[in-house]
């Protein structure tokens, strides 16, 4: 018995019997296999499906450019927003896209700090998703300012009248939060890419590819005197990004929470927005990664275990979001604020947008509850359908929060109704085109999974692997005798 205990302690956690964990990379793949499989995606011809998705994405991106030109050349009147609903789809879509970005940083930073090694298979693609989502998000407030050529007023430089920005305004906080978020995400993503770019450089056949990958790889030599600083840089960036990601959506929620509009003026907004962002972001990661996994044969790297973990995070954050919805209603009922109570009465019972609320509640709170069942978590079709409900639900949530509250505020005299115009609809579709186009190009030209990080979690990459092996053999032999 004593012997068994010592053996158990001496055995590598991934290999201990009884508490055996499923390996992170299935089928005992070698280092070389990991390189070949991931670089192969970039080096081989793309499957037909890639083109089937890419062409419509480019067309939709063209629609986005068209609507933007139409908007600027005609005026913001082509959008449906007006008084009292000045923040229509533009801000709804901004919050929707910026929220999606959060899963990428959560995976790359928070899961890194908490030593969740399974993140290595998903972090690269999620970070790319973050960048593209934030790019899509940035378009909306940029054009929502009305005169796009005046957008430099947002930057901290005095305008023509020598007046500076109002640093007390949440809207300016938002400018700083979102631009910092984008910049830091780019830095984090790029530092992570350097070793993988070196791998692509060393494998490249054509001179152009070698030159470009080589240029961006900065002459990386994988030296351990470099790795030790590199690892410290990665750790520090993770530690910096963790509070950053929590701050970004909190600051976005301040745009609403610091106003006095009933339905916006609530203290629950920052945590509620952050939970919702992670929830929606994970749904988008799965929406993108499930087809990628199937299409490029990455089942051994992006395993069912990953799907299981991610669906559980969706379940958790979705339930937190559900709690926030119900708590908002409870406070409106219990808080003795007549306007707040009315805002929620309008929102869920008597107002023109009540069906949006029902859609939101069904998609975000009720449908993800299927993830309590392992059968649902392990069926990829079910997962794919549910996460798409979540994607839609998160858009509805932002719609419910934004136009519903301002359409009916204090005085019935200023009540109005907001409906989006075709320009807004096409623009929103256009950002999906842009997002998909960028993501497909990312798959085409860059390693979709972090090669060096996945190598680091293989059992054989542990320098003490042979010793663990020997111990395991010894223990097995001991068991055989008993």
């Amino acid at each position: 018995m004593a012997d068994a205990t010592t053996d158990q302690q001496g055995v590598h956690p991934t290999e201990a019997v009884g508490v055996a964990r499923e390996p992170l990379v299935l089928n005992n793949r070698s280092l070389g296999w990991v390189t070949d499989r991931i670089c192969g995606i970039v080096e081989k011809r793309q499957p037909a499906v890639w083109w089937v998705l890419f062409v419509p994405s480019v067309i939709l991106f063209g629609c986005l450019l068209f609507t933007l030109v139409y908007l600027v050349s005609t005026g913001v009147g082509v959008w449906g927003n007006n008084q009292p609903v000045a923040w229509g789809w533009a801000i709804v879509n901004f919050v929707f896209w910026i929220g999606i970005g959060h899963a990428g940083t959560l995976i790359s930073a928070i899961l890194f700090l908490t030593r969740q090694k399974w993140r290595t298979s998903v972090n690269r693609a999620s970070e790319a998703m973050t960048l593209f989502a934030v790019m899509c998000a940035g378009i909306f407030p940029g054009f929502h300012v009305g005169r796009f050529w005046m957008v430099w007023f947002l930057a901290p430089v005095p305008n023509a009248n020598a007046i500076w920005q109002n640093f007390k305004s949440p809207l300016l906080w938002d400018v700083f939060a979102v631009s910092t978020y984008f910049t830091v995400s780019v830095v984090f993503w790029y530092i992570g890419l350097i070793p993988d770019l070196a791998t692509l450089r060393d494998r490249a056949k054509s001179g152009l590819a070698k030159g470009l990958y080589g240029f961006f790889a900065l002459g990386w030599r994988g030296a351990n005197r470099h790795w030790r600083h590199y690892e410290m840089a990665y750790l520090l960036l993770a530690a910096l990004s963790t509070p950053l990601v929590l701050s970004v959506h909190s600051v976005v929620s301040f745009d609403f929470a610091t106003s006095v509009v009933p339905g916006w003026h609530t203290t629950i907004f920052p945590p509620y927005f952050v939970a919702g962002a992670i929830f929606g972001g994970f749904a988008m990661v799965l929406t993108l990664m499930l087809p990628v996994r199937k299409l490029y044969g990455l089942e051994d790297l992006f395993t069912m275990k990953h799907v299981d973990y991610m669906t559980k995070i969706i379940l958790l954050t979705g339930t937190i979001v559900g709690y926030a919805y119900i708590m908002e209603l409870f406070i409106a009922y219990y808080g003795a604020n007549k306007y707040e109570a009315d805002a929620f009465h309008i929102r869920i019972l008597s107002g023109p947008y009540k069906y949006y609320y029902y859609c939101m509640f069904a998609c975000n709170v009720i449908i993800p509850q299927f993830f309590w069942f392992k059968k649902c978590r392990q069926n990829l079709w079910v997962v794919f359908i549910i996460v798409n409900f979540v994607n839609a639900g998160m858009w509805f949530e932002r719609f419910v929060i934004i136009p519903t509250s301002v359409a009916r505020d204090f005085l019935p005299g200023q009540w109005g109704f907001y409906a989006s115009s075709w320009v807004e609809k096409l623009m929103f579709l256009g950002t999906f085109g842009m997002f998909m186009m960028l993501f497909l190009l990312f798959i085409r030209f860059l390693p979709v999974i972090a090669i060096s990080e996945v190598k680091g979690v293989l059992p054989e990459s542990d320098p003490h692997h042979p010793e663990w092996e020997a111990l395991r053999k010894k223990r097995r032999a001991g068991k055989g005798n008993a």
């Binding site: 700083f176 494998r203 080589g214 005197r225 600083h229 690892e231 190598k455 010793e467």
Partner: protein, 175 residues
């Protein structure tokens, strides 16, 4: 001659070889691996990376830049009385978000540029890129390099030393 490039069969072999090279007293040498091998810093006799100190300086600089920018423009230069907020020292809470964001931003830049300075990259040409064996580092090779400028380097002795500590293949890099 730049030095010897030696390949080892596994992370474990490389780890033990690194310990021996360290104990033999070499200084101008390094291991090149496809991923950061856990614990090999110790086997090489390297300490903690002090990149964190650079990043701390970046963060402090960011905080002060943000506070200076906000107090200078909002309190000293052009006080705008809006949102019922004061325009004096007590405006501080309203300045907190931007201060936080700039702290993070400056720290991130300090990390990136500090890293590049510490590891002396970008450097697109290097004698090691002439070696075919060396290129395996980015795939599945575990490479150990001893440079000829190391005072203990001897053309024949170092080669046999590398063979002794278990190198599978050795290549001399000549430039």
């Amino acid at each position: 001659m730049f030095g010897y490039v030696a390949e080892f069969s596994s992370a474990s072999e490389l780890y033990h070889a690194a310990e021996k090279v360290r104990d033999a007293g070499f200084k101008k040498w390094d291991v090149h691996t496809p991923y950061p091998v856990h614990g090999i810093d110790h086997a090489m006799g390297l300490g903690k990376s002090w990149l964190s100190a650079v990043v701390l300086c970046g963060g402090v600089l960011g905080s002060f830049t943000a506070l200076a920018l906000q107090f200078f423009t909002q309190v000293a230069l052009y006080p705008t009385v809006v949102q019922n907020k004061p325009t004096n020292l007590f405006t501080l809470p309203a300045f907190f978000p931007v201060t936080f964001e700039l702290t993070i931003l400056f720290s991130a830049f300090a990390t990136l540029f500090g890293l590049l300075v510490f590891i002396q990259l970008p450097r697109w040409n290097h004698p090691l890129f002439e070696s075919k064996l060396f290129k395996k580092f980015s795939d599945d090779g575990f490479i150990l390099v001893i440079e000829s400028r190391d005072p203990r380097f001897k053309r024949d002795k170092t080669r046999s030393f590398l063979e002794e500590i278990g190198a599978d293949e050795i290549e001399a890099v000549v430039v």
